[in-house]
């Protein structure tokens, strides 16, 4: 059993038939940083709140460090929560906000003072301890919320979309900061986000969810390079998905007949012939100019984004996204006839 173990967790809200979270089973190791990732309504926040105890699971069990806490009320779970809207107490100043959890634990005044200072120094807000909450910027408020959750030395840190109310630049900084603090303290962390970049950047493992069920659990690399299915492939990063017929497969490589592109090869872990879907990321696509009678399609749009150039290529009814490094290849014009292909190791057969 893992440090934080969730078994067969189900949440069905009264008056709804479909469960919001279904058969959720996951083990999280001590010190691990796990992201719950998925579109809104996928059940990730509900899952987090069941771990926190704010929502009661319809069925299933939660164990922390070997002890069952499925029915333990929120205030006895000792977990640190950071909310999307920070939920700082507006009538208390920064230091009193951070001290709140310690006061509830009846920590001695002297020790509380020391720990509050430590926690505020950790999030680099030591100089603002006397400020009122509404005098703080969004990023500072988020840091106070983090300090308030960490000061109680929680068994688990639960972060509910903590970055989504910050502007893009601050979001990246805070993301790094949260991750480095988490590493420093070695605290087990569950992070809910709908932002795949965020999840890829900070997580030890990612749990991709959709419609209440787990689609895939894996390291960021596994999720990105070997998505388990079409949903994960589409949700994580940009993806081209091709319909293909596997004509021959052996030693992990399939020979394919791809609609519109002809004979190509792809990595194949399944080893079954027949119809299949092939995933190729836009930056792994190869595109080259071709004579009109020899071409697969035509360039529909060309977008220059600095580091790279993005093409949309029309192939039959479908549009294929291609991203090529600016300057590395010859630049294609709108309307150009092109051929598309890929290296075998850059394409993956999905079930």
């Amino acid at each position: 059993m893992s440090f934080l173990q969730l078994d067969d967790i189900v949440k069905t809200y009264p008056g709804t038939e479909r469960p919001s979270v279904a058969d959720f089973t996951l083990g999280i190791d001590r010190g691990e940083f796990v992201s719950l990732l998925g579109p809104s309504g996928c059940g990730k926040t509900t899952t987090l709140r069941m771990i926190a105890g704010l929502i009661e699971a319809t069925s299933g069990r939660i164990h922390l460090d070997g002890k069952e806490l499925t029915r333990t009320p929120v205030h006895q779970r000792g977990m640190g929560l950071v909310f999307q809207n920070y939920a700082l107490f507006p009538h208390l100043n920064v230091a009193r906000n951070v001290a709140f959890g310690l006061e509830m634990r009846r920590t001695s005044k002297a020790e509380a003072k020391r720990r509050v200072e430590e926690a505020l120094d950790l999030v680099r807000l030591g100089h603002l301890s006397g400020r009122r909450i509404k005098q703080l910027s969004g990023g500072q408020q988020q840091r106070v919320a983090l300090a308030r959750a960490l000061v109680i030395e929680p068994s688990v840190l639960l972060l509910d979309e903590p970055l989504s109310n910050l502007d893009a630049k601050l979001r990246d900084t805070m993301r790094e900061e949260i991750r480095s603090i988490q590493r420093k303290l070695g605290i087990t962390t569950v992070f809910v986000t709908h932002d795949q970049d965020e999840a890829l950047a900070v997580s030890d493992r990612i749990v991709v969810m959709s419609e209440g069920v787990i689609e895939q659990v894996g390291t960021p690399e596994q999720i990105y390079e070997h998505p388990a299915n079409r949903f994960v492939a589409n949700f994580i990063g940009r993806a081209n998905l091709f319909d293909a017929e596997i004509t021959h497969t052996a030693n992990g490589v399939a020979e394919l007949d791809v609609a519109g592109l002809g004979q190509l090869r792809a990595v194949d872990d399944h080893g079954a012939k027949g119809p299949a879907t092939v995933l190729v990321r836009p930056h792994r696509m190869q595109v080259s100019k071709a004579a009109a009678d020899d071409a697969h399609g035509t360039v529909e749009t060309v977008v220059y984004v600095g580091d790279s150039i993005e093409y949309d290529v029309r192939v039959g009814d479908a549009t294929v996204s291609v991203q090529s490094v600016a300057g590395a290849a010859e630049r294609l014009e709108r309307g150009a006839s092109v051929r598309l292909s890929w290296q075998t190791e850059d394409a993956l057969v999905l079930t």
Binding site: V74, H75, L88, F89, P90, M104, R148
Partner: protein
Amino acid sequence: MSAKTRSARLTVLGLTVPGLLGLAVSFVLPLAWLLRMSFNRGDSTGFIEETFTLDSYAQFVGDSYYWDMAWETTLLGLGVTVLTILVSYPIALFLVRTESRFKGILVALAVAPLLTSSVVRTYGWLVLLGNQGVVNQALMGAGLVDQPLALINNRLGVYIALVEIMMPYMILCLLAGFGRFNPELEHAAQSLGANRWRTFWRIVWPLSMPGVLTGALLVFVLTISSFVTPRLVGGGKVFYLATEIYDQATATLNWPFAAAIAFILLALFAVVIVIYQRALRRIEAQ
């Protein structure tokens, strides 16, 4: 001064003057006239002597009967205010927290009594609380009491009726005052180890203070100035400053004395408003 600021000033002037004029004519002038009246000499024949004397005030201050009345009035104001907070707070908290789709209707229902005149509601209470009223009938029917309880024509009835009449005002103030409140704050407090009790006293109650204070001020002022309910439910047997003003003005016809009491009541308002402002400033300074 640039033309722009001058025109801005003219706009401000143009917008405020009508209101100020209205206030002057309908409030300040009558008040001034009333103040002047309180310095005249009157007697129970209705005769008013134009003079400048503090006789009416002296009469009030010199008579323990009126001190008692002022004390009972203050007590009524405080009592009704506290009781109204106690019964309104749970309702307001429920209305703030509920995620029911009928929330709008529930809020409307809670304040709907405001649509009815307090005279009508007072008569309603007379019907309910009288010797033959629903409450006494039910109590006797259940065998809990042998004789009807005296629920009207006394102070108890006045308290009961006024609390109910004041509830919609209090609920409205509390709802408005809960503006800074967010259910997530309760979750945050709980996650930090606070049980329900401490979550309430440390988070919910302090955050609702502005609403509680505003509601308390409004209810206190409305209560000590209310006349119809104490008069009807009190059955002419209990006396407060507001009923006394009416009696002095219409029955005794001693207008100067009535005016003097009115100004003493006004002084009570002033004290309460100063307390309110102080308390509010202290909360906001946190």
